[in-house]
């Protein structure tokens, strides 16, 4: 049943992106918003808007009852969750379907399996997809832990089985250090979580973050090639590319095929991303997790394949089968996306909400700027700092970097600090130009280049 009226349960640039896709398909739109977002671009663009609560996300964008009430009151027949907020909340997916609405995403059951790290790891292993070597679940016996550490090789990460959020993680470089850290880790886990059980994993050093975009209709699955997102700060992606400059063609085919096998194994429906670590030196890749939603960096995939991923999500959710076969998906040229955030890279990335005094958007061939900004808009302090994504495409990676530098030069956002100077410095960097980086490359680089990250005169 095709979607007639779509409720967008998100905000910011992704809400604008979803409204655009809906408009092109002739679908009416309902934008739900917090009290702080009444002036947002998405609210202005949508056919209808409903205030679902106070600024705090837990009282508005995460308020399932209010979102479903807004859907009922406006007669919306589908919900697109965007990314973040409730996008990977299986209970929300179930609640939307229980209310008789179309959920633009995978079944709640697929979100549950792939959203659970251990369950996703088991699913990957049973589909024959390599995972990071480690303990398959919790480990309580110190002798068993020691034997496993020697088997998987150092460095080894030890973390609390009951923990989360990086708490209690220790890294042992060799067996002596392991013997010293293991009792500490167990004691700390017991003190913090009341459970001394541990989990172990090999540390893949100098790994690249490479992820595969897939589209499924519940039966068939295709991939739309990979993205590389190795440039990260505090585990947040900063600069993303498609394809990866590091992947030989044979490896690309192998990696992408593994993603299709795994997505098919869970009868995946909609757009999804399988994240991997890729070790340049050995050519090995390891599945780490799946994101069961559209991702921030999806435009680089759209630029190299010509496929509108958000439109396809809406078509699939409306009950249509995939309209591309794998052979229809062609990789052409190179695309780069940079995240323009309201943060000052010269001051430790201090966030700076404020009012947009001037806005000059870059244009010309191969340039796209996905944003929720407009002149006079006041960026609220209550949500993340993403203002927009500058995306470029060109025939080669080197040309794409030149084009990015040119487009960044045209971009002017006045009234608040932005991360534009960071991206300008990255575009000029010899190692970035050579594609020589890994997930721990950017943070030391930021320390060394702190003085070059101010706004240019």
């Amino acid at each position: 049943m095709a979607i007639k009226k779509l409720l967008i349960a998100n905000r910011g640039e992704i809400a604008v992106r979803i409204i655009r896709a809906a408009q092109e398909l002739g679908i009416a739109t309902v934008q739900v918003h917090s009290a702080a977002d009444a002036d947002s671009l998405a609210v202005k663009m949508a056919d209808e808007a409903v205030n679902i609560g106070p600024p705090m996300a837990s009282k508005s964008y995460l308020n399932i009852a209010n979102i479903l009430k807004a859907a009922a009151e406006t007669g919306a027949d589908a919900v697109h969750p965007g990314y973040g907020f409730l996008a990977e909340n299986a209970d929300f997916a179930d609640a939307v379907e229980a209310a008789g609405l179309i959920w633009v995403g995978p079944k709640g059951s697929a979100i549950r399996v792939m959203g659970d790290k251990v369950a996703a790891r088991v699913a990957a292993q049973s589909a024959g997809v390599p995972v990071v070597p480690g303990s398959d679940g919790r480990i309580d016996d110190p002798d068993q832990a020691r034997a496993l550490a020697l088997k998987i090789g150092f460095p080894v990460m030890i973390k609390a089985a009951a923990g989360g959020g990086g708490r209690g993680i220790r890294i042992a470089q060799d067996i002596e250090e392991f013997d010293r850290l293991l009792p500490q880790a167990s004691a700390e886990a017991k003190a913090a979580f009341g459970d001394g059980g541990l989990y172990m994993e090999k540390v893949i050093e100098r790994a690249r973050h490479i992820e595969v975009q897939i589209l499924g209709d519940g039966t068939d699955v295709i991939h739309c090639f990979e993205r590389e997102c190795s440039l990260q700060r505090r585990r947040q992606k900063v600069w993303e590319e498609a394809p990866s400059a590091a992947l030989p063609q044979a490896m690309r085919e192998k990696l992408c095929a593994s993603a299709v096998v795994l997505a098919k194994a869970v009868q995946y429906r909609g757009a999804g991303t399988l994240e991997y670590l890729y070790d340049d030196a050995s050519g090995a890749f390891y599945f780490i997790e799946m994101n069961t939603r559209i991702q921030v960096e999806h435009p680089v995939t759209e630029m190299i394949t010509g496929i509108d991923l958000v439109r396809e999500m809406l078509r699939i959710a409306g009950g249509l089968p995939l309209r591309y076969s794998q052979n229809d998906v062609r990789l052409t040229g190179h695309a780069i996306e940079v995240r323009i955030c309201a943060e000052d890279p010269a001051q430790g990335f201090k966030p700076g909400p404020g009012t947009i005094s001037t806005l000059k958007v870059p244009g010309g061939p191969g340039v796209r700027f996905d944003t929720m900004l407009y002149q006079g808009y006041t960026v609220p302090p209550f949500y993340d700092s993403l203002l927009g994504k500058l995306i470029v495409w060109d025939e080669t990676r080197a040309q794409a970097i030149s084009r990015m530098a040119r487009a960044l030069g045209e971009l002017e956002v006045g009234g608040l600090p932005t991360t534009k100077p960071l991206h300008q410095a990255l575009a000029r960097d010899a190692e970035v130009q050579a594609g020589q980086f890994h997930t721990r490359w950017l943070e030391p680089w930021l320390d060394q280049n702190a003085d070059r990250l101010g706004e240019e005169a």
Binding site: P54, P55, M56, A342, E343, P351, P353, P381, F382, S385
Partner: protein, 78 residues
């Protein structure tokens, strides 16, 4: 005239270090310069708000989890 501690930033005010923990300060507590009286969340980053003067708290003007503007009074001191 009563003294006030102002929010240096716009965002969400938290009077507790975490939802399941007691507040940093309550009415009747004395504060010294540098004492943390709350947190402001700005774009998902948390900033400690320290008292810039000494006194005894007579009232919270901003409630826990309430949106605040930069320059808005958070606490009244006597």
């Amino acid at each position: 005239m009563s003294k006030q501690i102002l929010s240096p930033l716009p965002g969400t005010f938290y009077s507790k270090p975490a939802p399941d923990q007691p507040p940093f300060k309550t009415v009747g507590d004395t504060v010294a310069p540098g004492d943390v009286i709350g947190l402001i969340e700005v774009m998902k980053s948390f900033h400690e708000i320290a008292a810039d003067q000494a006194g005894t708290i007579t009232a919270f003007i901003a409630d826990d989890e309430e949106p605040v503007m930069a320059g808005q009074a958070l606490i009244e001191l006597a």
